[in-house]
Structure formats: structure tokens, C-alpha cells
Amino acid sequence: MSIWEYANPVRFLALSAKVQPFAWAAAAIGILVGLLWGFFGTPDDFRQGSTVKIIYLHVPAAWIAINAWIMMLLASLVWLVRRHHVSALAAKAAAPVGLVMTVIGLLTGAIWGQPMWGTWWAWDPRLTSFLILFLFYLGYIALWEAVEDPDTAADLTSVLCLVGSVFALLSRYAVLFWSQGLHQGASLSLDKEENISNVFWLPLIISIAGFTLLFLALVLYRTGTEISLRRARAISARLEPRG
């Protein structure tokens, strides 16, 4: 038994069918509990007022936006090294989810920034890095759409994802060098001193878990969609010559 067993599309689909109901249900529960608790059950911050409630959307979305790219990078590596189609398709399936989460992160950040920092947008390192990440998602998705042959598309986007990751990291450091920040430090870290206070912490963790499960469920489902499309394409290609 190894994890590579699930590189077989049939095995993958079987496992995915088993996992998906739990993932969807847990995601719904996590997001509902996290957001409702955050929205109704937490006090206002004494400086930020009620805008602190936006954190339950902002931080999980940003978390997924970054981790979706990391997942795509790993899936791309697996595709390039071991040529498992499921892996390439999972990377393709994850990209639009990551894009939407990036947009949510940017939007909620802008809405929060307007009353708190007095501006929708600042050329702060974190904000700027996120904008660059958004551009990388756009380019990646556009390249998938543009290449006709599916295997070539998987190859090229994987290479782009690899090179893009290196440049995204470089940009991160370049941007840090280029501008001083307005954004506060990490909301969650192992260092207790830096952490946000306990009242906000638990609903935030639940919300993050909910978003992560939603990402998992979405990617599983979307990968299934891509497999169906690929199979349909293969069968019709086989039928064509016979008439």
C-alpha cells in the first residue's frame, strides 16, 4: 500500500467519492460555526471596533490562497517526475479556487483597511506580494486555457508553476526590501506573545479548518470533473476514426 496507488484515476475517484461527503459536510460545519461564532459570539476589539470580525474571512482566505499555490507546486512536481495525470489535473483544479481566495483576501483586506488605515490600498509588502500572487494565478490559468494538447498544457503549466514559485519568493523578498510595512505581523504564530487574544483565536482556527476542508472538497470534486472531461475526450477520439 503506497500513496501512489491513488495515481490511478479509478482508485482516485473511488477514494474521492468516499472522502467527499465527509469533506463537504465538515467544511460546511467548520465555515458555519467559525463564521457564525465569529460574527455573533465575539466581542468587538477596543481599537478596531466591529471590523475585527472581518478577520474570520480574511485570514482563512489568505491561508488558502498561499497553500493552494504550494499544493499546485507539489502536484506539478509529481506530474513532471512521475507523470501521473491525476496530479496534473489536481493542480489545474486547484488554481481557480486559489484565485478566488486571493481575491477574497484582497477585497476583505481593502474593506478593512479603509476605516482602519484610512486607505483601501497601500503599497505594503504583504499587500503587494498578494497582488503579485494574483497575477501568477491569472497567468497560470491563462496558460492552461491556451494550450490545446492536454499533456503539453500540463507540462508547460508545471514548468511555469516551478519557475513562478521561485520568482514569487524572489518578489516577496524584493517587495520587503522595497517598502516598509503597514500590515500587522502574522495573526497566528507559535510565539504566544505575538498571538491574537484567545477570544478571537478559537473561532478563527475553526474558520481556517472549515476553509481548508472546503478547499479539499472543491479540489477533489473539480479533479473528478477534469478526469471526466479527459475520459470523454479520449473516448470520442477513439470513436472518430471509425465514423
Binding site: L143, L156, V159, L160, L170
Partner: protein
Amino acid sequence: MIALLIRDLRLALRAGGGFGLGLAFFLIITLLVPFSVGPQSQLLSTIAPGVLWMGALLACLLSLDRLLALDFEDGTLDVLATAPLPLEAALAVKGLAHWITTGLPLVIAAPFLAVLLNMPPQGFAWLVISLALGTPALSMIGTFGAALTVGIKRGGLLLSLLVLPLYVPTLIFGAEAARRGAAGMAVETPLFVLAGMSLACIALLPFAAAAALRMTLR
């Protein structure tokens, strides 16, 4: 290898003036800036380093889709892929040819355009040095982008979308070095990072570009 370089340079000089085009574009972009932001010389001298870097970057981008597309159409790339010369080296040479025909003229033209924008004279040397160090990276990243999109019909716009985010770090460090130079501050840090990035691009990106090209040609 040298034969390939000479061939590329000859083609660029002859066919359709890809050579002068980037330079003319750089000139026009720079001249349009005062029209769009107003003629105050104080403002212009502040933004001059950034404008010149931006103009150079766009001029580089402009000629990228010609970099491999013509050779792809007439089959030269297939010949290169099966030639004894490794494809990595061939692409590095193509990047070099692009730099000589596009990047180098930009570097030489930059100080003259800097005069038009009222840039402080103490920054001229740093502008030229930062462009000289940064444009090779732009050419090599562009070669990678061109290799990714060469098989795509009407890939020009997609190429810009893919390449521009990759240009971000080079632009930041390059423009920062030029800006600090113009303001009379120490420029070593951004300049060294820029040089390091250029070297890394030249060393590593030919492999990525060749890999992408093999995938398209296969």
C-alpha cells in the same frame, strides 16, 4: 554557437527592423511621460529613474514574441532541437542575441533620455550600470516566456501576462538602484542583488526554457 549568434544578429538587423523598433519604442514611451504627468521638472526628475526602467522593460517585452516564433514557423527550432549543440546552449545564445539587439541599445540610449527627464547627473552612471546588470535578466526571462508560449496561436498577449509578473523582482531592484543613485545614496545592496539575480537567471533559466521548448516540440 557563434555561428548561431551571428545568424540571429544578422536576422534581427535585417528583417523588418526588430533592431531599431525597441529603441524607438523606448524613446516614445519616455517622451510620452511628460505629456501624461505634466512638464514640472521637479516631478520629472524624481520619477525619471523609475520611468526609464519601466520604459526599458516594456521595450524588452515588445520584441519577445519574435524571439522564437519565426524560428518555430520555419522549422529552425526543430533543427536546433536535434542538433549536436544542446538546446539549453542554443536558447542561451538566443537570449544573448536578444540582449545585444534590444537590451544593449537601451542601456546606451538611457542617459540621453535621462537628460530629457531632468534626472540628476550624479545618477547617470548608476542608471546605466543598473540597466546593464538588469537587462540580461530581462532577456533571459523573456526567452523562457517565449519558449513557454511558442506553440500557442496568438500567444503574444499571453506572453506579456506570463512574463510581466516574472519581471517584478528585477524591476524592483534595478529601479531601486537607479533611484538611490540619482538621490546620491548608497547603491551597493540593490545593485549586488540585481547582479546576482541576473547571473542566476542566465545560469538556470536556459534549462527551464529548453525543457518547455522540448515539451512543445515533442
